[in-house]
Symmetry: C2
Subunit: 180 residues, 2 copies
């Protein structure tokens, strides 16, 4: 994967993708499927919602870091299957043939099969909601993946891939954050 | 618009749509464009991020309610334009030809031109993040709109409409919330 500008972080979360969140704890890599994410400012902060029912959440609570990855739509079945098993009893990187690459600022790995990976430092966990507030430290993209569409979960077991694109950059010029 | 089951609320927010959030304050309707939303549980709670820079946020702070609407992709230009002006000096319902319909549980209006509108009661505002935590009270859908695609903001002035659909209901059966 190649490093991208930090300003790009927002553009991977704002569309509302299904994400794969990678963690490392007790010497083992793990990954979970999370749709409940949100951009929260123009300064690289993002949030996701989780709780103790997620095995990965314990790792995040313990070492305050993770990598948020954006899988292409072509990975849809794997993304669903990752969400159906727990890292407590499954080596998900092995089971699903994922490639863990070293990150620069965190011990959790990048997932090479994803379009982008955001190295994140956890700044706050807001209870009772389980809001994990994170600052993106580095952005990595894999530009060798042919399918550039991201995946959106409907929440009822169905998903959509990105379709028609609209370009309103001119129309929105006055409100676009710098560097985007 | 016709009323839908409350369990449907999740399925309108989880995909990560651009939303129009309607408010009513001081006897005037207003609406803002918000992409920073997130589902947070299976019990009808959702959240969006805002702050005092949004005129609508002051209305939400004051009367603790709003209506979160999901526009179809065919409304893309209007959605962008709504985000470029402020309700402080603009009657957005008038300017953009939106139809305000009465809601059942809040004073803020439904927006008839949207695919769905969620009546929301604000339960908490989490500072310093501006997380507006809401409980959905009623779900309304407009099934007469031909374009059923929702719109996703990339954050750089470009947007995507829903494209290819994947159905993994069988694959995810064990994890789907009841009633979905």
């Amino acid at each position: 994967m190649i490093e991208a500008r930090i300003e790009e972080a927002l553009t991977w979360i704002e569309p509302g993708p299904v994400t794969l969140i990678a963690t490392r704890h007790g010497g083992r890599n793990n990954v979970m499927t999370i749709s409940w994410t949100m951009a929260i400012d123009f300064d690289g902060h993002i949030v996701f919602t989780s709780g103790d029912w997620n095995y990965s959440f314990r790792a995040i609570r313990a070492n305050r870091e993770c990598v948020v990855c954006i899988p292409p739509a072509s990975m849809a079945e794997t993304v669903v299957d990752i969400g159906m098993v727990s890292g407590e009893d499954t080596d998900k990187f092995g089971k699903f043939g994922l490639t863990a690459l070293p990150a620069a600022t965190v011990s959790a790995p990048l997932v090479k099969e994803c379009l982008a990976c955001l190295e994140c430092e956890v700044e706050d966990i807001v209870e009772p909601y389980g809001f994990v507030v994170m600052k993106v430290k580095r952005v990595w993209v894999n530009d060798e993946i042919e399918d550039r569409r991201i995946l959106h979960a409907v929440g009822d077991g169905t998903f959509y891939a990105d379709g028609e694109r609209f370009d309103f950059r001119k129309r929105m010029e006055a409100k676009l954050p710098p560097g985007i």
